[in-house]
Every structure is written in C-alpha cells, then in structure tokens.
C-alpha cells in the first residue's frame, strides 16, 4: 500500500470537488437550506399568533376574567381544555407545547388575600423550552397580564404568581429530531452518488482503464476515495450541526458512537453505490437507480418525520432500511444521549456497512470482461 499515492488522490479529489458548484451546493448548502426551512416551519419561527392552552380548574367568573384578559391581548390563540386525567399525560398525548393551569380555589384565594396579605395563588405554566421565541413572547404576555392583575388586587404585591414547568421531560424539539436525519440523508446522497460517478462515469470515460495501467492499485484508489468521502461526510455533518447550534440553539454531543456512525454510514452507502455501478453501466441509468433507492429511503426511514407516527406497514418497511438505523443512531448518540439504543443502532449500521461495502468492493472491477 503506497500511502503517498493515496494522499495525492485524496487531495486532488478535494480540489476537484470544491470546483463543482453543483456538488458543493447539493452537499452543503442544500442540507443547510432544508434545515433552515424545516426548522423555521416546525420550530414555530414566523408565527404571528401563539397558541396557549388553558385549563381552568376554578371555572369562576374571576378565573374566566383572567382568560378573557389573555385573549384580549390579540396575539394569543386561547384553547380551553378539559381533562379528568393528569395534566402531564394530557400534554404528552396531545403534544401540547404551552399550557397554563388555573388552580381550583383561584377566586377564593384572591378574595382571601384582601384580608390576609399572606395568601397567594400560583398559576402553573407548562412550556416547550426548545421553542425559545414562542416562550419569550408567551412569558412576556403572561407576566404583563399578571402584573396588571396584581396591581389591581393589591397595588403591586404578588398575589397571583406563576410556576413554570417544561412540557417535556427531555428538552428536544423538531430541530433536534431533524438535524441528525438530515446528516444521515446527506451522507447517504454523497456516498451513493459519489460512488456511482466513480464506477460509471469514470468507466465510460476510460479513467478506470487508464488507472489500471498505472502503478496505483485498486485498493489504494478505493482507500483514497473513501478518505475523501469521509472528509465530505464530516464537513457536511459539521455544517449541519453548526447551523443547528447557531440558528436553533440545539445541543449536540459528539462522541465515539456518533463518529462511528458517520464513518459506517459513509462506507455503507458507498458500498450500495458500488453495487449499483456494477450492474447499471450507463451513468444516467445509474443515477436513476440511485434515486429510486435513496428517495423512498429518505422519506420512509424517518429523516423528516418520526417513523412512529406512520402506519404500521410503513414502520415495518422503515425498520428494514439501513437509513432508519443511521437516523435513529445519530439521534440517540448525538441528541438524546440514549447510549444503549445508540449502541444497538450503531451495531446494526456497522453490520450493514460491512456487508454492503465488502460486496461493493468485490463486485467492483477495473478490468473489462
């Protein structure tokens, strides 16, 4: 193995890649655009009216008056809820992001506070900490309303207070779900299409035949290209994480499992690309074949939306797709810190990678028949 030759090919590949505006766009800017777009849509950015659920356990004229005041601010979309179960279960089941609970005895306590200055009543505010902009607005509105109310009741002394709870036990939002999926999707696209280019276009152009007669060996060349694919994978991962941190404030854990997953994903989909390139000779046909494999996988494997929300048949299909384990693994390793699940996902991806990459290498030939 001549590592100098490997290094030369690696560096020239980077230079060539950087000159292709289309490739740079699809590798880096397109995922960034998707992250920003989906992040904006699903993280509440750009909302002009904010939904606030209200559970009025007191249900008196005074508690209803408070809700009316909230409603009159004009920027809240108030939705009343009634439930007999525990409120936390209700929040979880109905995916509620912001809720205020008016406790039973609200009116009684306020009335008592006129004679007993020590009496207080606390409203409970449940919020989604990942939706920072929404929280900021809602907190500001609720605080203003309470300030006015306290001023009216006791010339400013706090009678009605606010206790805050997170609506989620883990502080994760859609963007935390989406960015690992986007990373998996991007590496998949880069690896499959990069591999196909090397195995169909380079074959058609005679480059593989030319290389066959030079001192570079097939294993040196594949190693150089895999180093290049890993470089691309880490660059695109860094960009996606960077956008997530700076635009959406996500918290990411880079650990050994994350790195293993990125490497295994790159090998996995490069192997799939090699296999496609072996059986589909024409470049255009190979691109179509790659699209036929990668696009359904993108939608079915939980890149954009949680597989759990899909019909059971789709869930079964998703669990047969390698990208599903890539996405789940990255989420568990990077975001949720669910190490045991991440280890299982990583193991599955590594096994997939070993099978497909070895098959790809064995099937890839420089020699003509």
């Amino acid at each position: 193995m001549n590592l100098k030759i490997v290094g030369i090919d690696f560096l020239y590949s980077i230079r060539s890649w950087f000159r292709s505006r289309g490739t740079v766009f699809w590798s880096l800017l397109f995922p960034v655009m998707l992250i920003l777009l989906f992040g904006a849509i699903f993280s509440g950015m750009g909302n002009s009216k904010y939904t606030l659920y209200v559970q009025d356990l007191d249900n008196t004229d005074m508690s209803q008056g408070f809700v009316t005041i909230l409603n009159k601010t004009g920027i809240l979309n108030i939705k009343n809820i009634t439930t007999n179960g525990t409120i936390t279960d209700y929040i979880k089941e109905n995916n509620i992001k912001n809720l205020i609970v008016i406790p039973k005895g609200y009116k009684t306590d306020i009335t008592r506070s006129y004679t007993d200055p020590t009496t207080k009543v606390n409203l409970t505010y449940y919020f989604d900490p990942t939706e920072q902009q929404t929280n900021q607005v809602l907190r500001s509105v609720i605080s203003s309303v309470l300030e006015g109310l306290n001023m009216q009741i006791s010339q400013g002394r706090t009678v009605v207070g606010l206790t805050e709870y997170s609506t989620v036990t883990e502080n994760f939002g859609y963007i935390d779900f989406f960015i690992p999926g986007m990373i998996g999707f991007t590496i998949m696209q880069q690896s499959i299409y990069g591999s196909i280019e090397r195995n169909t276009k380079f074959r058609k152009d005679g480059i593989l035949r030319k290389l066959l007669t030079t001192p570079i060996t097939r294993s040196e060349w594949i190693l150089a290209k895999m180093l290049f694919m890993l470089f691309l994978a880490f660059v695109s991962t860094s960009v996606a994480i960077g956008v997530g941190i700076f635009a959406f404030g996500i918290k990411v854990n880079i650990n050994l499992l994350t790195i293993t997953l990125i490497i295994a994903t790159s090998f996995l989909f490069s192997g799939i690309g090699m296999i496609i390139g072996r059986f589909v000779k024409e470049e255009e046909t190979a691109d179509m074949a790659a699209g036929a494999i990668s696009f359904p996988m993108m939608f079915l494997a939980g890149t954009f939306f949680a597989v759990d929300a899909m019909p059971s048949i789709i869930q079964m299909i998703a669990r047969a797709l390698p990208l599903f384990y890539v996405n789940e693994g990255l989420r568990n390793a990077m975001i949720y810190m669910n190490q045991s699940e991440a280890i299982i996902n990583t193991g599955i991806v590594v096994v997939f990678a070993a099978i497909f990459f070895i098959a790809g290498v064995l099937l890839t030939k420089w020699k003509e028949d």
Partner: protein
Amino acid sequence: MIEHRFKCPHCGAIATFYGEPGETKVVTCAACYTRGRITIPGEKQDNSYAIEVSHLKKVYDDLIAVNDISFAVKTGEIFAFLGPNGAGKTTTVEMIESIRTPTAGAIKLLGTDTKTGFNQVKERISILPQEFHSFERFTVRETLTYFSKLYKKRANIDEILDAMDLRSHEKKLYRNLSGGLKQRVGVALSLVNDPEIVFLDEPTTGLDPKARREVWQVIANLRSKGKTVFLTTHYMEEAEHLADHIAIIHKGKIIAEGSLQDLINRYGENTTLYIKNCHSAEAPQLLEDKGFEVHSSGNGDITVKIDYKEKVLEVLSALRHDCIEYDGVDIRGSNLEEVFLRLTGARLIEEVDT
C-alpha cells in the same frame, strides 16, 4: 539506442530520431510530412522487440473476438493496428494492456510476460484508452501532475506542456478544452512517466481534420523521442502517414502485416498508367500485342495496368517506337485502401460509416 539528427531533404527541418546502429527506419518529417528512409550510422545490431504477442485469442460465448493472432513490434517503431470497427483492435490492445484477460495466448511487454509480471512493466508503459476523457475539473497542468505522481519515474511536466504545445492551455479546466486539445492532453498524459511503450487507442476518432493533423504531429514526435508506439486506428491515411509497421486485422484475424510498401507490393493492385488523348487509334492494340492489359475509353484516353513502375518506360518506348503521340501521362500507384479492399472485399471507410 542512439540519437541521430536528420535533416529533411525536402524542407531542411532538423529532427531527432533514436535507433540502433545500422538500423534503417522509415521516418516522417514533422514539419512537412515527407516520408523517407534513414540508416543510423554504425554496425547493425539485432532489434529487440518491445511487444511480442503469440497466439492471442479472446472468446465471448459464441463470438471469437480475437482469433489466434501473433505479431511483434520492434522497439522504437510506430506500429499501426488497422481495421474497421468491431474487427478486434481494441480487444487486442486491451488484452496487451492487461485491461482484458485473454482466453488464450501469451503477451510480452519489454520482455516481461504480462500474465505474471504486468505490475513490473506498469512504470515503463503508458496508454491512452479509446474515447478517453480525463477528470473534468482538473486543469491541464493538474491532470498531468496527478497522473505523473502515480509513477516513480516522472517526466518534466513543463517539457511535456511545451512539446505538446499545451503551455497556453495549462490553466484551463479539462472540460473546457476542445476535442482536439483533449486528445492532445491524452497523448501528453501518456508521456508523464517517460514510458518506453505508448499505446494509443483510436487517438483521432471524432476529431476534425485539423485536430487530427495536430495529433499526428504529436505522435510523430513520439517516434522522434525513441518511444515505441502502438497505434490502433481505422483511418487508412493515419496508418499510411505515421506507421513504420502495419498489421491489418479483420474479423479477429490479422490478414496482412508489414511496412506500407511491403503491403502495397504484396497486396496492392497493379500500378495504372493513364495516357491522355492518344493520337492513334492503333495504340491500344499495339500495347495489347506487347502483353499489356489495356482499356480504351474511346475518346483517346487509354489506361494500362502495369506490374511495376519500371514498366512505364516500356509502354512509352513502344508508343514512341511507332511514332504515336499523346498529350500527357499520369501514373497512379496502389494505396492502403486498395490493399484492404483486395484483402477483404470491402472498403474500410464504408464499413466505418455504416
């Protein structure tokens, strides 16, 4: 091999050739394309063979693509492997380059059996595959540098750029080059390791006549540098213009092999003598009586088939002896196209076009 400087008697251009002492070579002037023979001064020595092919065969299911062919290419010569599309040229050259595995036969490059020692000769050979397109987003210089760095032995890139007249294009991206320039870069790539053998598979296919001439110039220069060139082509003119040694392949078999003159002498039609506006109606009969094959057009023009050019004088003497006058004569010799036609019963260019 020694260097020999040669002055073209036609245009006076100086060219450098390499060869063994005593070796006679057919050379083409790079400036005016005049062909001629030169003999390298000194005692003649045995020529070594750069390429030796023995009983080579390639079979695909029911199709015999290459059928038991054998030939050898001398060091320092341009060998043209000529034949129509589908004749087996590329299959043969790719077996020699170890891109395809032969069904049977043996190949030696620079004395090394390629079956076991191809990796040892990789440093000493270079190829330009058919319809080759290099990395699109490399500049010309980067393309040459990239391939150069794959070898231990490297030629000077600047010298190659100058020799191939690519200096003014060195910063252009490969994908922005014209077809002719791309082929020139392809040939230039074949020199980055200063190889002893250069394989060029249809290097001028698809090029316009001007670009083709440019590539020919580059190939002619390779010979002047002492390289052995294995050229596959379906262009008669290309083989006639460049090759020291020609092998014609047809339906997987070599049907003729030798220098251009050898092939014409062996397989060409007779030389034709055109006598324009002969003033005597007796002339055709007179020449027939002398044993010549004569065809009269009826308007005074006569064509006479002759075996050798020397017979021209015999014909003209016979006419003069009988005081028969004419307006002029034209002698037309045979060419490779006629050789191919005679050997295969088909015109090469027609087969290419269909």
